[in-house]
């Protein structure tokens, strides 16, 4: 195909949409990862849970998309706290290693996923909403896509303020840097952990609503995103909010640009993951601790 005819601005914009959803999904995972030292696989199901929560809110309470996003945030946040209290806290109290917790989270995720199948049925659902499409210069957009990008940017800003300016935010950062030192200083680890689970899961809930609005609602909605989410976390390193943001958008952009490359060679767009991973491997060879972590200050 003719390279000159490709609308690069549009691809860039598409990359921003993809990246925004990835960022919302990956951030929560990296928050709990950095404090509890295990990747919570059931995080994928938090996304789907958020999507269904919004669906129920649209159906039962009011046909208001903003309200449904807030409800998804809160209810998925509580699901996060609940999950921590009934699964991960008892396990870590009994001295489970990160490996045990990871496997437990995988099983717990399957439990959540099939509960959703049971409850909402096997057929995919869609929000009964109409998002207007229009042109901004050479770029085609819809109100939903703009909402996705704006919400992510606003949340980035709010999180930045929260982590840098508030006492609780500072305590969170302290805990993630050095747990023992932080606890010696009188930080209540349990309270902070509950808050981290709430925020992390809540953000995943919002990500789930956006992904569902963009595609469809199904219990495997989050599972489809797990590979990019993990590559973002590896690329960004788990302890750096800004690195997670940057790598989410990097992966989003790489994916969208690689589609052009793949169709030129008449290959399936399934291979976009391979391109993303090749780039990931190259970056890791050059920067083994993630793109934004200095070698002396490596995260574990």
């Amino acid at each position: 195909m003719d390279l000159a005819s490709i609308n690069f601005l549009q691809i860039f914009f598409n990359g921003l949409i993809t990246g925004s959803i990835y960022f919302l999904a990956a951030l929560g995972l990296s928050l709990t990862y950095s404090l509890l030292n295990f990747p919570n696989i059931s995080h994928a199901e938090f996304l789907a849970f958020g999507a269904y929560a919004a669906y129920m809110s649209l159906k039962l309470i009011e046909n208001n998309f903003f309200l449904s996003i807030i409800i998804a945030f809160i209810s998925t946040g509580f699901l996060g706290i609940f999950s921590y209290l009934i699964v991960f806290k008892p396990l870590s109290k009994k001295g489970s290693k990160p490996m045990h917790l990871t496997i437990a989270s995988l099983g717990y995720g399957l439990f959540l996923r099939y509960s959703m199948y049971q409850f909402f049925g096997r057929e995919a659902l869609t929000y009964k909403l109409w998002f207007e499409a229009f042109n901004i210069g050479p770029i085609r957009v819809t109100s939903l896509w703009i909402l996705i990008i704006l919400t992510s940017l606003i949340l980035v800003f709010l999180l930045h303020l929260f982590l840098k300016k508030t006492l609780i935010g500072k305590a969170m950062r302290a805990l993630s840097n050095n747990q023992i030192l932080a606890m010696v200083c009188g930080i209540d680890k349990e309270k902070i952990l509950l808050l981290v689970w709430f925020i992390g899961a809540g953000l995943a809930g919002i990500g789930g609503v956006f992904r569902a609005g963009d595609t469809r609602i199904t219990p495997i909605l989050g599972w489809d995103l797990m590979i990019p989410i993990f590559s973002i976390i590896i690329l960004g390193g788990i302890k750096n909010l800004y690195a997670i943001i940057a790598s989410a958008y990097i992966i989003g952009l790489i994916e969208n640009f690689s589609i052009i490359l793949l169709t030129i060679f008449n290959l399936s767009t399934e291979y976009k993951v391979i391109i993303a991973f090749i780039i990931l491997i190259i970056i890791l060879i050059l920067k083994p601790y993630g793109l934004f972590t200095k070698a002396g200050n490596k995260s574990d």
Binding site: N14, T215, N256, T263, E270
Partner: protein, 409 residues
């Protein structure tokens, strides 16, 4: 004297011979029993059905199952096969090859079925064909259309739907008729989609300006669709799966592709696509036109199916319902003819029964590859009725003998 040493030896020798003979006869009888179960003893005859009851093709698959249930009901209501009732055992395959293998194993090893109706997709059929061949289990797919399946040769795999070799010819003749010069193909990246894409390329050559093979698990297709719009083709040919297909259509409208006419394969002739408002709007605006294996309406075979279906399920039959029905009917008739629940016998019976079977979807005679000989397609176009219902308006037909015949307006 009876108790002479030589006599004892003789008695022992004779006893030994009878003993060995007895074991052989007993063994032979057991062998007979496991492979040739007499019908009078079984009470029910199992027919396995493999369909995507959830996931990507769930919306279509769950309605196809009703075709099989209807065939079983009709046979059972009229006394079954020699008084044995047909029992349909349905397994969900999610249209995934790995799940199809699991489902086939379960049906064959645990349920002990000798006939399987399905699976629905070509990828699944190709994944399990060796497994069923090795175990001599007859497979009758209702909707697997990929060309590759014919290449499996003389085996236990049959299908009541024509190969895509035929369908690509039908679609190519629509493209000729409409005088489209520049086409983009947008297909699902599996045996089905790629088969159609390559078939069309063979027939149309240079008219295909761009081919996109999309990943059904990806969930956003903006960049793919943007490429389509930058080519600005005369028409887009879609061969999509349902759930990802809805997303493609929805985002195609978002990307402003509503002015490019669309063509589609048979898989798109299903109401499931209208579930999403935007997808429905896109389909209608672009006048989605396509082919689908025809069920000759008005024939006695189809009318029986249609009336019974409406009576029993109180809804219109969906895509491939009548094909699932015919596959199940053929299976039951072949079991009856074989008069033994044995894969090899059923296969032999199926080959001869099919020659004389004219069902809801027409004459189902198989060739040596297990493909049907006669291929006929309806040409449909999506329309909206006055009361807001979407439907597939039949605007013409295509068959192997006469080619494309468009209805006069």
């Amino acid at each position: 004297m009876l108790y002479k040493k030589g006599n004892i030896l003789k008695i022992i020798a004779i006893a030994l011979i009878f003993f060995i003979l007895g074991i052989l006869i007993g063994y032979y009888a057991i062998l007979q029993q496991t492979t040739y179960v007499s019908f009078k003893k079984v009470g029910e005859i199992k027919i396995g059905v493999m369909l995507p009851l959830s996931g990507e093709l769930g919306p279509i698959g769950s309605r196809m199952l009703k075709g099989a249930l209807l065939a079983a009901k009709i046979i059972n209501d009229t006394g079954g096969i020699n008084g044995n009732y047909i029992k349909i055992i349905a397994e969900d395959t999610l249209a995934l090859p790995e799940k199809a293998i699991e489902a086939a194993k379960k049906l064959i090893e645990i349920e002990g079925v000798k006939v399987i109706i399905g699976p629905a997709t070509s990828t699944e059929v190709l994944a399990i064909s060796k497994y069923v061949n090795d175990r001599e289990v007859v497979l009758i797919s209702m909707s697997a259309t990929a060309e590759k399946i014919s290449e499996l040769g003389d085996d236990y795999v049959f299908r009541v739907v024509a190969s895509d070799v035929m369908q690509t010819q039908a679609i190519a003749s629509i493209i000729e008729e409409m005088k489209y010069k520049k086409i983009v193909t947008f297909v699902v990246a599996n045996d089905y989609g790629i088969g159609l894409e390559e078939g069309l390329k063979k027939l149309l050559g240079g008219k295909i300006a761009l081919s996109i093979r999309y990943d059904p698990a990806k969930g956003d297709y903006r960049t793919e669709l943007m490429q389509v719009s930058s080519i600005n083709p005369d028409a887009i040919f879609y061969a999509l799966w349902v759930e990802s297909g809805i997303i493609v259509f929805k985002q195609a409208l978002d990307m402003g592709l509503e002015n490019i006419p669309t063509l589609g394969s048979e898989g798109m002739a299903d109401v499931a696509f209208f579930k999403d408002e935007k997808a429905a709007e896109y389909i209608l605006k672009t006048g989605l036109t396509g082919s689908k294996p025809s069920s000759p309406k008005g024939t006695l075979g189809y009318n029986i199916f249609y009336e019974e279906y409406k009576k029993y399920f109180k809804e219109e039959p969906g895509l491939y319902c009548e094909y699932t029905y015919d596959a199940t009917m053929l299976a039951a008739l072949s079991i009856a003819k074989a008069s033994a629940y044995n894969g090899y016998e059923i296969k032999k019976a199926l080959e001869s029964t099919s020659k004389y079977y004219i069902g809801a979807t027409g004459h189902k005679a198989f060739d040596k590859n297990g493909d049907i000989i006669l291929a006929e397609y309806d040409i449909w176009k999506v329309s909206k009725s006055i009361d807001g219902e979407y439907f597939f308006n039949i605007i013409g037909s295509w068959n192997t003998v006469q080619g494309l015949l468009m209805k006069k307006e």
